[in-house]
């Protein structure tokens, strides 16, 4: 049985295949199951322990217990083993033993990527629970799980998951090489791993997607992507990714079609607002107030009339404030979290405007910018985008509106130039037919 299973199933670390031989009775059994999918204690209790104690003829146990049943059709093996059954061969008879164990109740609730109607559990810090959830969500014999140890002292287990048929072998080789090349004493979180694996040290955008959601992971696997699960971390890494994956929330598949499409458009608008709004504020008020229609320009300038310094100082005051607020609300304990928001957002915000230190339009700009930033569904992209406005502000101070445009253009150039593990990071896929071929193929000789 074991030889045959080796052919059917992709070689995977979590597939346990054992041949047990009893020294006295000279009986042998063969045992195969997926470690994360089964309750190992149950297998021990019902199979291995009675077998090693040689309590009674093992075949009578198999026949008397209703949890065991005989499997006649080898074609159903894959199906059974993927459903958490342990397959046992004894004297050329194959039994299936139902040791299935769903670990949904052990999984924590999603913290960062929450949805309204999607699954609420996230993967766990315990890799076995995480792999159980993933294997249950992606029941394919092609799903391969490799294991590596990273960190010379911490020896943290790293599980590399991929669909054997769909994933790109070059990417896989690249990732494996990168993992082998990691030389670090301690690795505690996937964030650390993300930094080590990304190709360049100083890059503006994430090239790996960090997620805690099982549905996102299984969808990524079905698209031929590679997933890294680190022991002791509640987040998995997905690679290679494109920019558009970061704008995409899992909920887009669950909710009504038109609204989710519209939401994606809104996310791009939010992205534009959060990156360029402070820069545009400076550019418009200090260089080209005549861009806006007269009434609007008047009210903008009038709201600034009490402010005694140029617009960019105003922007800096507000930006520093909002960054402090965001940072403090992460650091302080949960109980007094709302207090800091109230103090910072409501009291300080209105007071600073009444004191004439900052114009009321600037308060609107700042809050709009902060809110738009959190519209983006993936946290690592939220963080990356949070940084992007600062270069735009600097260029707006010196070059005005044209500077903002050039800055945004530079970001487009930068994005198009990025590659995530050999995959194009920012491109419009369009309609793609294999007969026609893709650009860049002829030159890649």
């Amino acid at each position: 049985m074991l030889e045959r299973l080796k052919i059917i199933l992709s070689p995977s670390e979590d597939l346990i295949q054992k041949e047990l031989k009893h020294p006295i009775s000279k009986q042998t059994i063969e045992l195969a199951f997926y470690l994360p999918l089964v309750d190992e204690a149950k297998v021990h209790q019902f199979v291995t322990v009675p077998f090693s104690k040689n309590e009674y003829p093992i075949s009578s146990l198999f026949q008397s217990n209703s949890n065991f049943y005989i499997v006649e059709d080898p074609a159903s093996w894959v199906d059974l083993i993927l459903r958490g059954q342990a397959l046992i061969e004894h004297q050329n008879v194959i039994y299936a033993f139902d040791a299935m164990h769903y670990k949904y109740n052990d999984a924590p609730v999603t913290q960062v990527e929450s949805t309204i109607r999607g699954p609420q559990h996230s993967i766990s810090e315990d890799p076995i629970i995480a792999l159980n959830l993933i294997r249950n969500a992606y029941m394919s014999p092609e799903l391969t799980i490799d294991q590596r140890q990273v960190g010379t002292i911490s020896q943290t287990s790293l599980y590399i998951l991929y669909d054997q048929r769909k994933s790109n072998q070059d990417t896989l080789k690249l990732v494996m090489n990168k993992i082998e090349a990691i030389h670090l004493d301690l690795i505690n979180s996937t964030g650390e791993l993300e930094r080590l694996l990304s190709s360049k040290k100083y890059q503006l955008f994430p090239t790996l997607l960090m997620t805690e959601r099982v549905d996102r992971i299984s969808r990524a696997l079905s698209l031929g992507k590679i997933v890294l699960v680190l022991k002791g971390s509640q987040y998995a890494l997905i690679l290679p990714v494109t920019f558009f994956d970061f704008i995409h929330a899992v909920e887009d598949h669950y909710e009504s079609f038109w609204m989710t499409r519209l939401l994606i458009v809104f996310r791009y608008i939010a992205l534009f607002i959060t990156v360029s709004l402070p820069g545009l504020y400076i550019a418009v008020l200090s260089y080209n107030p005549e861009i806006f229609r007269l009434q609007l320009a008047f009210s903008l300038v009038a709201s600034r009339s009490v402010v005694p310094y140029p617009s960019f100082i105003e922007v800096f005051i507000m930006l520093i404030m909002i960054e402090m607020l965001l940072e403090s609300s992460i650091r302080i304990p949960r109980f007094i979290g709302p207090a800091s928001t109230t103090v910072g957002g409501l009291i300080l915000g209105s007071a600073i405007q009444q004191a004439g230190l900052v114009s009321s339009v600037m308060i609107i700009v700042t809050s709009l910018m902060a809110i738009s930033n959190f519209v983006l569904p993936v946290y690592s992209m939220t963080l990356a985008v949070r940084f992007l406005k600062y270069p735009i502000i600097f260029i707006a101070i010196f070059f005005g509106l044209s500077g903002v445009c050039v800055g945004l253009y530079f970001y487009i150039v930068y994005l198009c130039n990025m590659r995530s593990f050999g995959e194009y990071y920012f491109r419009i896929r369009g309609k793609f037919t294999p007969q026609e071929g893709d650009i860049g193929q002829a030159g890649a000789r």
């Binding site: 253009y409 419009i428 002829a442």
Partner: protein, 372 residues
């Protein structure tokens, strides 16, 4: 993947229309301008067909590779330097014209040279990227600009100030023989296919140019709009008084609703995008052409990291452009642009015919081999 050809074709079309071409054309509005606009798509289509049909005989090969199939290294080098200089000048003209436009319309207080330097640096950085990346940038930036350009054109045509009689008067001057300059200007709009001289490298091996008949038609419509709409807005006489004709035309359009009242600013923001992209594509071609001259060059359209030589060439382009622009006045630039356009007309005719002959030669060679 025909869309990548589309983008390459229309980036040239839109850039030239937005900058100095309408000025030269309207200067000749009582002369041969209308006739050259009518003739140029035919001329443009013939050369488009010749160029694309010959490129499809050399799949995955750019101009340097094609020339080196037939000629010794030194001839190829001379041709490539010549082509690179020509394309480089086009890019430099566009970007420095745009720097002038910014300082006259958007930031009158800013120093023109500081602005130019910013644009040059961004363009040169973008140009050092790999060819595949350039194609993506081109796609994104055109897709972002095209709706806005269409909007600007639509609003300007629907302008209540539009005087159709003026257009009628000018259109009646169709019976004049085209002058050299106006024909060179009009036909320049149709020369976007020359970008494929480099971008042929990234096209897949079994690539077929499709729908090429539609390209000159669309470009012709755009050309007609850009020539006649300013005449309708400004009148037959006043139209020649503006150098940056379309900026002035966009400025005469008012948007009743919305934040921005004057169309000019929308137009300038699109224009920055378009002209940066045009210059980026042009200078990328310069970099790739010059690189083939330097020994030990590795041709890789999807290189991970730009080699040092790319940066050096880009730096040289920046310095040459900047130093030249320090000396050149606006007036001189206009004259130079006119000469450049005429020169380019002849040069492109020559190159396209040359490539066409080479492709027939290759076909004949294979036929001979097959026969023997």
């Amino acid at each position: 993947m025909n869309r990548y050809f589309f983008y390459n074709y229309f980036i040239v079309c839109f850039t030239n229309l937005m900058l100095l071409i309408p000025y030269f054309l309207t200067a000749d509005r009582y002369g041969g301008a209308v006739m050259s606009i009518v003739l140029s798509p035919i001329f443009g289509y013939i050369f488009l067909y010749m160029f694309t049909s010959s490129l499809s005989k050399f799949p995955g090969k750019a101009l340097p590779e094609i020339f080196s199939l037939f000629y010794p290294k030194w001839i190829v080098n001379i041709v490539m330097v010549y082509k690179a200089v020509l394309i480089g000048i086009a890019g430099a003209l566009v970007i420095s014209t745009y720097a002038v436009i910014i300082t006259s319309f958007l930031n009158p207080n800013a120093n023109q040279y500081v602005m130019l330097m910013l644009l040059l640096i961004v363009c040169a950085y973008a140009a050092t990227r790999s060819t595949v990346s350039i194609a993506f940038i081109l796609e994104i930036s055109l897709l972002l600009s095209l709706p806005v350009i269409a909007f600007v054109m639509y609003k300007t045509i629907n302008n209540p100030l539009m005087n159709w009689d003026a257009i009628h008067v000018i259109a009646n001057h169709v019976d004049h023989m085209p002058t050299l300059l106006s024909f060179a200007c009009a036909s320049f709009v149709f020369t976007g296919y020359l970008n494929m001289g480099l971008f042929n490298r990234i096209l897949p091996p079994n690539f077929k140019f499709k729908y090429i008949w539609s390209y000159p038609i669309i470009a012709f419509i755009v050309l007609v709009i850009t020539f006649f709409v300013p005449i309708g807005i400004h009148g037959t006489e006043t139209v020649s008084q503006y150098i940056f004709l379309w900026s002035a035309t966009a400025d005469s359009t008012r948007m009743m609703y919305g934040f921005i009242e004057r169309m000019l600013f929308v137009f300038l923001i699109v224009l920055i995008n378009i002209s940066l992209t045009f210059t980026m594509v042009g200078w990328h071609m310069v970099i790739e052409y010059i690189r083939t001259i330097i020994p030990n060059n590795v041709v890789n359209p999807d290189e991970k990291k730009a080699p040092l030589r790319s940066y050096i060439i880009a730096g040289c382009i920046i310095i040459i452009t900047f130093v030249t622009m320090l000396k050149v006045t606006d007036d001189l630039m206009l004259k130079f642009t006119a000469y450049f356009l005429i020169f380019r007309l002849f040069s492109e005719t020559l190159t396209t015919t040359w490539i066409f002959i080479l492709s027939r030669k290759k076909v004949r060679k294979y036929e001979k081999e097959a026969a023997s």
